[in-house]
């Protein structure tokens, strides 16, 4: 004889104001096997939970139903509570009479009727529940960090310093990411490279961090604690053990000064062998296969100038791609962003006029290690007038980026300041829609910049065009209502931050979702900002959404902390919802194997039946419905349970 206890929550007035909880409780008392049916104002509270525990202990309840909010809110709360009283947590069921009932209906009578239906359904289901045990799996004591920008570096350092091995995979030849491309950082005007490079060096020196630069993740399989990752190491055609970073190869290269330099966004040219920037880590040259004459055409003049010039004999055109297979316990995604392509807004003339540049290009111009040695130059002259345009590619439904990119108002203020510093007589105008100076020191910085003589004119620029060779900005000043056309020497577009092209593919590999803004989606926007829907995979930095350096670092530390919980405890519990195969019914047809997205089903050739890897199985149920013999049952979601659930409702 089963003994079921039912607890109806008022949730203050959230449920009770729409559903007649007392009526529901008294109705439920008459359901089969129900020995307790009561209501209480806040079931999730300490006294509420105690009610349940007391009844389990004193009345010997076998099963418990709580009719309250959504399981995503409090299923773990109540499962823990019943477990503490000695009941198996999978003999507990929740009926959602809040999000699915009181919060979406207004008619009290009908809502109460529906709540009763939901409880009948839950009771029918729980009557067929069986006690289940969570499985514990070990966690491999290694972490993988994808992306070697400031977030990836910080996360790697935290995990490494806690004593665990970290693989830091970076697709570029050097770590450093976007921060290496910046000149000064707001609001303190710290030199970006100066504060970044010590961390880069620390990461390289740390015995627990293995840097896998110029490498990419090509496959991920497995589950939390046991991820199997394939990494492709791209060939540099330079022996990493021998290269001293002297640069002779680049100086000697036949195509020196001919290849657009990607780090400088095409504003300067480099040779085929290159390093990204002078403080690159590792300081090893890479031969660009897309432009190397020898690699592309099999021939470079009459001799290989780079090989000849290399005193360390490090050049090796026989190098091939190398594939590594890593076993890691946890993964952190820190892949960063790309700047918005302003050519998608043709009204600004980006890509058409050399005098129209984007924010990142400005950073390179302003940087001492950039193409102009830190001078702001346009057509080889210092500009006398500069117009900055905010919100390019952000807050914009036309290009599908509705979000605000968070950093542009501040980086534009910083740029305006830098112009005033380098060209004191220049006229600097910022055409803005709003100024978002929300962070620590931001408003003060904005104030300072305006006091330096930068003029803020409200109004999003309509178009940038040329009249008789002169660049013109056409805009409405919304504060005066006046439409103006101003001549200018340089226009800097404050482009927003967007997900990288590779992001979509990576999301597929990791099986984590992207949000509507195309950034990786966090598990809960408020309370779980570094988790993803995949246990064991965390997010850090701009990969999760646009943010500045301090926020990226903070989030990286958060992700590292979550990863460390797994690594330190060394074990993780998995929910017992998986497929169970009845070997007597299984005919070995292997149809289920083909439909499993998680490769959890394997054929046993000796027994001639299918077997389930319970750790890989995600309990989706597709195999169960595909099986022609009805040999597969889903734990906690059996056909009988589902049918009973439906029966309770109709």
């Amino acid at each position: 004889m089963k003994k079921i206890g039912i607890y109806i929550c008022h949730c203050g007035v959230n449920i009770a104001s729409t559903v007649d909880v007392k009526k529901v409780a008294s109705y439920a008392k008459n359901l089969p096997n129900v020995v307790v049916s009561t209501d209480y104002v806040y079931m999730c509270s300490e006294p509420g939970q105690e009610l349940i525990k007391k009844d389990i202990r004193e009345k010997g309840l076998d099963m418990v139903v709580v009719a309250s909010c959504s399981p995503t809110m409090h299923e773990p709360t109540f499962r823990t509570a019943v477990q503490e009283a000695g009941l198996n947590p999978y003999c507990f069921e929740m009926a959602n009479i809040r999000e699915q009932c009181s919060w979406v209906h207004e008619d009290r009578e009908k809502a109460t009727e529906k709540a009763i239906g939901l409880i009948k359904s839950a009771v029918a289901r729980v009557s067929l529940s069986e006690p289940l045990e969570e499985k514990e799996v070990p966690v491999a004591q290694t972490a993988l960090v994808i992306g070697g920008g400031i977030a990836g570096i910080q996360a790697s350092l935290d995990i490494a310093n806690a004593g665990f091995k970290v693989y830091l995979v970076e697709k570029e030849p050097s770590i450093g990411g976007r921060m290496a491309q910046l000149d000064k950082t707001f609001p303190t005007l710290d030199c970006s490279a100066c504060i970044l490079t010590p961390k880069m060096v620390e990461a390289a020196r740390n015995k627990n961090i293995e840097l896998l630069t110029y490498s990419e993740v090509t496959d991920v399989s497995g589950y939390v604690g046991n991820f199997k990752v394939k990494v492709k190491k791209k060939p540099r055609y330079i022996d990493v053990e021998k290269c001293t970073g002297c640069g002779n190869c680049a100086s000697a290269c036949r195509l020196k000064g001919r290849i657009p330099d990607e780090f400088n966004l095409g504003l300067s040219k480099r040779a085929v062998p290159y390093i990204l920037f002078p403080q690159a880590v590792p300081l090893i040259y890479t031969i660009d296969p897309n432009h190397c004459l020898y690699i592309q055409k099999g021939k470079c003049g009459d001799k290989l100038l780079c090989k000849e010039a290399c005193t360390a004999d490090a050049i090796n055109f026989d190098q091939k791609e190398e594939f590594l297979e890593l076993d890691v316990g946890t993964i952190i995604v820190a892949t960063g962003i790309d700047p918005f392509d302003a050519a998608l807004k043709p009204e600004y003339g980006y890509g058409k006029y050399p005098e129209v540049i984007n924010g990142l290009e400005f950073e390179r111009l302003s940087s001492a290690s950039g193409p102009t040695g830190g001078e702001i130059m346009v057509n080889n002259k210092k500009p006398k007038k500069i117009v900055f345009i905010s919100c390019v590619g952000s807050r914009d439904k036309q290009v599908g980026n509705e979000y605000c990119s968070r950093v542009c108002c501040m980086y534009t203020a910083k740029h305006a300041h830098l112009v005033k510093e380098k060209i004191p007589d220049a006229q600097v105008i910022v055409c803005y829609t709003d100024v978002r100076a929300f962070g620590k020191g931001f408003e003060e910085f904005y104030d300072r910049v305006k006091n330096e003589g930068v003029i803020y004119r409200r109004g999003s620029v309509g178009e940038v065009y040329k009249k008789a060779g002169q660049l013109i900005v056409r805009s409405e000043d919304t504060l005066t209502g006046e439409v103006y056309e101003e001549e200018t020497d340089l226009v800097v577009l404050a482009v927003g931050l967007v997900q990288r092209n590779e992001g979509v593919g990576l999301a597929g590999l990791l099986r984590i979702p992207l949000g509507p803004d195309k950034f990786f989606l966090e598990a809960h926007p408020k309370l779980r900002p570094v988790d993803t829907s995949m246990k064991g995979i965390y997010l850090a930095g701009c990969a999760q959404g646009p943010k500045d350096i301090p926020d990226s670092v903070a989030q990286a530390k958060g992700a590292a902390s979550s990863a460390l919980v797994l690594l330190e405890t060394g074990r993780v519990k998995l929910e017992p919802f998986c497929a169970v195969i009845d070997k007597d019914r299984c005919g070995g047809c292997r149809i289920c194997e083909g439909v499993c997205s998680y490769s959890a089903l394997k054929y046993d050739p000796e027994q001639k039946v299918m077997t389930v890897n319970e750790a890989l199985c995600e309990g989706c149920g597709v195999c169960s419905s595909a099986c022609p013999s009805g040999a597969i049952k889903m734990n906690h979601f059996t056909d009988k349970q589902i049918q009973a659930q439906i029966g309770g409702l109709v």
Binding site: P346, C391, G462, V483
Partner: protein
């Protein structure tokens, strides 16, 4: 007028008053039209909203504001509806009223009799649906190419090209009636519905499957506003249609003599509003002896000729430079001897501007069809 309803209908509540619309509006520097302010007043609501602002008739419906608005508001359609309230009160500018009444009486806005609609085709042998000829392709001439003496050369040119390509087509003849695009933009929604219904029944009566139009305005309304056609129905602009023939290698053109340096002006209703930029350029750039130049503001950035939205029938303000004049001056500066376009309104406005800027010796205006017809 329920302002709230209006604001909802045209998605105005999303507006953040960034001013991109007014900044992009080609007439905002020289007229009372301040679209951002108009939207703000509509959002604010209240009893003081005056729809009879002078500026609302200045709008050419070019679409810059709507195409660039980051919050996807619909300011052009909003202005059309404001116009409809003013029309209902009977306060429309006199010349516009005349054009609207002409459409009702004569089926065209030029106050010319319907029986003279095919005068341009005198002496030319063309299939006519109103004479019981049959064809599945309709060449829809449109009011301006039918009646305006300058624009009449365009259908003549097109017929020559179609015959050279052995295309089977027909025209509606004197039964052809205004497409209604400008009437809708002017806010005369009732008149537009009436025209659309009549036109659709006529097309169905003659079992027409495909329409090729001369004017991008007619193209726009048939493609986007006319409903009730089946899935097999197709509308194309003649540049699209001819470009397909050119790609298939069927259009053989002689070398152009004399050599021309042409600059192509994108009409708003063909280019930015309906995204047809390449077809006319492909036709021109494949002609030997023609050097194709581009305006600084071309394609999506093209500057309106000021012909749309009823402006063809609105008196311009004396002493204020017209947009067409600006465009002509720029063409001369670029070194072009010919401005080529593919819209009868653009043709008229630009040619007028050539005269008023005293550039008749330096530059001509031609339609794409005229150039191609010269060389088949």
């Amino acid at each position: 007028m329920d302002l709230q309803q209006l604001a909802h209908k045209y998605d105005l509540y999303g507006c953040v008053q960034c001013g991109k619309c007014t900044g992009s509006c080609p007439v905002s520097l020289k007229s009372d039209l301040q679209i951002r302010r108009l939207v703000y007043d509509a959002i604010k609501g209240g009893d003081n909203f005056v729809s009879e602002r002078k500026g609302i008739w200045e709008c050419t419906t070019c679409g810059n504001c709507e195409l660039r608005c980051p919050k996807s508001t619909k300011p052009v359609d909003f202005i059309s509806e404001l116009r409809s309230f003013v029309i209902e009160k009977g306060k429309v500018p006199a010349t516009l009223r005349a054009a609207l009444e002409s459409v009702l009486k004569h089926k065209n806005p030029w106050n010319k009799p319907a029986v003279k609609r095919t005068d341009w085709a005198k002496g030319i042998n063309i299939k006519r649906f109103d004479n019981n000829d049959k064809s599945s392709l309709l060449l829809y001439i449109g009011c301006t190419p039918s009646y305006d003496p300058r624009c009449q050369k365009i259908p003549v040119a097109l017929v020559k090209i179609f015959n050279n390509l052995n295309i089977d087509f027909g025209i509606l003849g004197n039964e052809e009636c205004c497409c209604g695009n400008e009437m809708k933009k002017m806010g005369e929604f009732g008149l537009f519905e009436y025209l659309a219904e009549d036109n659709i029944s006529m097309f169905k009566k003659y079992d027409i499957k495909k329409i090729v139009t001369i004017s991008p305005h007619c193209y726009n309304t048939f493609k986007n506003d006319y409903h009730g056609f089946g899935p097999e129905f197709e509308v194309k602009h003649y540049t699209e249609y001819l470009s397909e023939h050119a790609e298939a290698g069927r259009l053989r053109l002689n070398k152009s003599d004399p050599r021309r340096v042409v600059v192509y002006h994108d009409p708003c209703y063909l280019g930015k509003r309906n995204k047809i930029f390449d077809a006319p350029r492909k036709l021109l750039s494949n002609i030997k002896g023609i050097e194709l130049k581009e305006f600084d503001r071309a394609k999506e950035r093209s500057v309106c000729c000021e012909g749309g939205g009823g402006k063809m029938w609105l008196e311009s303000t004396p002493g204020v430079e017209r947009l067409g004049e600006q465009r002509v001056r720029e063409a001369v500066e670029i070194g072009a001897d010919t401005i080529v376009t593919s819209c009868p309104f653009c043709l008229i406005n630009l040619e007028d501007a050539v005269k008023t800027t005293n550039n008749e010796e330096k530059i001509k205006v031609m339609d794409v069809a005229e150039i191609v017809a010269e060389l088949v």
